[in-house]
Symmetry: D2
């Protein structure tokens, strides 16, 4: 339990038995500057990670522990990832900061994403349990908030749908290049976005060979979209957003319909190409080309394409990422790299697994 | 080769080795009032249908023939379905009408769908080869043109994407209940819509576990949409339409974004519920519910749902059908039933195959 | 609640909210001689079938009821299907026979498949609750026991894996054409065979894009195999049997390795071709050809192929069926047709849905 | 075209537009000791790799070239991978060795796998074009031939099915622990094993939602199995082998039925556990556990499980690997690492991508 001889950062993953937890372990296991020092999974406490995710059998990993009664001081973590169910994170983070004030936290839940306590209460139906922490939390969209993340102690890792929509839209809203009142986001996600909880509607036989929308007209991810789009536009923005489920494991494609505000589709493409020219994890395709989710599978990349619609003044933007990587755990590791001063791309260089 | 002793209508399927051809055979094989008298497939001529589609092995079906040199008089067909590649149908139909003036034709290609020869030439890049037939052709959306179809000799069976979008939108445009300038159709189709031709981009390993848009900003189905929507609205309508490919075999889901013109989302739902209350193949779900493609798989049903968007004045409409059944061969059989005076639902009563 | 004016048989489906229940409703809804008079589903009691399986929305079906407290006399059923979880059927059937002695029952569970009470107790770990009924039950493999089924009151519908293996092997064992000590059955099933219960290992993301064996070395279906193979061979037969899960919804393929006992692979094919020449639901392919599950999807067909192995004396037999149709509910309807004197193929004529 | 300033080995990939070519590029792009200096693809010559495989868009890779007219001296390769169609490799390798005698070659085709020219001619229907090279070629199953590979100039990378079957069976045959006359290998592969050539039977709609065997009774991989199993057993071995296609992209599971020769199933497990205890890419599961292909997806691991059958004396062995990684390109990189003196696991440490 004491320290290791090496200088690697000691990292914990809370909630390692879920999909985002497993994806964190997959990425961190190959990170040369960190050591996986703590893995928790309440219902699987006492088990080996290989019993929960057999792909880790060849690796030497710590046993799964319960959060309850954990010796935080002994764990001596430099940073922990929280991949816990919604609303359970707030109290855990509060307690850990109490015992280990110097620890850094990347939270993958929605608990700290909304800066406004009133918005949180409205969308989630209860008061926030740790409003003082919410005030300190930095929204972890690295391409937008890199400098603030560098000095943050608590980073709220963005949602998968929101990352996919924000990366193309925030630069366009900042540039006032599109009409904020005419944005339609039609999003399609793979099934891992729904998590590993056993629900009838997520069974293979319910999901394969079919397609449908859900949460139509209202979906909690909208709160994050509203917040960040309004900040970018400097005015209130409310978009139309419809999520769908695709019979595949990984990937989100957002098809986004916008109307240029004095800007042509080519102009919009130019803004995105300039914004992301130096970014390692956002790739803007040539004008007129569109991305496919399979080409970012397992990688931390976002691919963005801009196409001219035949309706004058309108453009169609497609944005693709892997919901478990750039949409969750990959972006979380990217945040960690920034927070701990490692090269931002470290352990995130894997090329997509296609086919 | 002469007539059979029974009174069943003699039916031909041209292009029986493709997916819509096979779907026609599947449905017609159980139709009590017809006899499958002729099957053609140029490249597979001389073979048995079971060699091309083994599921038909238990059935007694005519051998596949080549169209070239066919004895049309001897075939003595009452009606034929053309499931041929685009632009090959025009001359075939011309020739057959020359030899068998009383034959009726349901064409599943796009060849006769556009009433305006100029529109045809613009979208397809060449003059129509049989403009006099194009003038006689009736657009085969039964729910809209049932009476004209009853007396038609040549019916142009609508496209799969267009059927899925027209069924919900035509009644709303006719009622002037939505703004014709703000329609966005985000459509997702299963892979059988791409046909059976061997193309790299349709291989299993290219398609599974991924999602993407194609034909963004321009797609030939738009021509049909323009025509029928403009007719319904009484003015020119140009919609935004984006097709996507889903890693599944069958099904189309269209997510349609509209703005009410003095009509609430509830009003739009009411119009659709009233329009389709007596229709056997269109089912309008309760307000706020959305359909799934899997629940219409293999059936001739269209399921439609209407939901209120959180953006004031906007509604989201989801429409689902099986692209091979109501989107192609099922609708073609429905047209045949109307044209030959059979009960419209005959051989189309199958419930969806789910799971 | 009294009788209907018509003469159709009154049918009940117990356990209508599971997959085999839904498949029964799909098939029976189009059966011209029966009326769906009762549907039960304990956890969904009071709901409409469309809430549990939306594909039935266009049909007029009775509400789901709870078995508890059912008025069996009032229901006045001619025949009921039991699609209940294992070990719950025995007491229900006992009770119903007490109230409606003339009712006929087709049970889709494993409860009445084993004729020997000792075998039942050994495989299932408890004494049978209704041993007197077990003695009356007829094993419902129609192609083998048709005459006994015609007069049965209680039919134990065979399991999906066992049907798929028994149809090719029983005739060969009866003819003493293969060595009973060298049979290896490597079986692969679609996911619907696992039912609709929400289990983590059946989630889409756990199952898609992967393949594995389960129950290796021991599996309850083996008890049925032992019983019927031993009866056919006239001596004890114990086979090697390994089930696997395929990322697809429907279908079982059994690859069966046998050694001829004085019979060549061609001889084995000849025996099967002769045995099944007149059977409507078993199709033996030409020698050397092998079946695919997709070509029997949604149909009641079994396709069987026989191939010569390069190892002298050995043959490889492939057998394919749809686990929900011929492997469960289709065979159950076939049993009903025999028990009630309807044409055996009635409501089972659908051609497979491919693609 | 000249050299780079660094000391990295210059590597070529011939046939980079196929799936094994892309997998090589995926792995090599992150290998710190090599430089991808040459990529060829005859039909795509002149294009960028990103046009053929968009996932590589963020990488800086050489343009695709044609083999015809290549300046081999100028290319100055240290090692080249041949991922070319069968029978085209022999002449290419002959020519390249003529111009660059010091080059090392890892061939992923079947061209150099059979040591016996007569066996080659019998299985492939023509004389070998480079018999003198065939004599020098080393069979590249690293776990068996590591020392010979270390000094080889030409390595024949084993086939995917054969790797999956040989890793568990060779140690057992060497130990004379199983009966060589009673081996049945029932193998199931994902679709990428069929390559990227556009064939009707590999279309998504033909393959998804179904399962079937192919090449039953005869399959070219058998030649490799015969050769290596006979070498291991010290006598002629002919096994029964049946390949099947699974609707998934990656993975092979072999279910292998054996009879112990004086060895219990536990003994067989012990032999394998001891043989592979120190191997980085073969993991033997605890006795009685079986592997799943999804847990090795994208990794270079082979997982092996041994289970006791209920038939006395028989054991069932399951072996799982990713056909594109350990079954092809991963093993090829492993061979390269051995041939060039790099750590054997370099660039192959990725954990499987699951879910």
């Amino acid at each position: 339990m004491a320290g290791t001889a090496d200088n690697r950062a000691r990292i914990g993953v809370l909630g390692a038995s879920g999909y985002t937890g497993a994806e964190l372990v997959r990425l961190l296991a190959r990170h040369p500057e960190v050591e996986l020092a703590l893995l928790t999974a309440d219902r699987r406490a006492g088990q080996e990670m290989r019993q929960v995710f057999p792909q880790f059998a060849p690796l030497d990993l710590p046993k799964l522990q319960s959060i309850e009664g954990l010796d935080w001081l002994g764990a001596g973590l430099d940073l922990m990832f929280c991949a816990l169910p919604h609303a359970t994170t707030q109290k855990v983070v509060q307690k850990v900061f109490g015992e280990l004030p110097a620890i850094k936290v990347v939270d993958l839940s929605a608990d700290f994403r909304l800066a406004d306590p009133a918005a949180y209460a409205r969308w989630y139906g209860h008061e926030h349990h740790a409003p003082e922490l919410q005030r300190q939390a930095v929204y972890g969209l690295v391409e937008v908030y890199r400098e603030r993340i560098r000095h943050a102690h608590l980073v709220a890792n963005p949602g998968c749908y929101t990352t996919c929509a924000q990366l193309p839209l925030i630069p366009l809203l900042k540039a006032k290049a599109i009409d904020p009142d005419e944005i339609v986001i039609d999003a399609k996600s793979g099934m891992t976005g729904a998590g590993r909880a056993a629900k009838e509607e997520m069974l293979f036989s319910e999901v394969s060979e079919g397609f449908h929308a859900y949460g139509v007209g209202h979906h909690r991810h909208m709160a994050e979209l509203d917040q960040e789009f309004s900040l970018a536009a400097g005015r209130e923005v409310v978009v139309t957003f419809t999520p769908h489920l695709v019979p595949m494991n990984r990937g989100i494609l957002s098809t986004i319909y916008v109307r240029g505000a004095g800007a042509s589709p080519e102009d919009l493409h130019g803004i995105l190409a300039r914004t992301y020219g130096g970014e390692p994890f956002v790739h803007v395709l040539p004008f007129g080309a569109v991305p496919q989710t399979r080409h970012v599978r397992g990688s931390n990349m976002t691919f963005i394409g801009v196409v001219k619609d035949r309706v004058p003044g309108r453009a169609i933007i497609c944005s693709a990422l892997d919901n478990l990587t750039k949409g969750a755990s990959g972006q979380a590791v990217q945040n960690m790299n920034v927070m701990l001063g490692f090269p931002e791309t470290m352990a995130l260089e894997q090329v997509a697994l296609f086919p």
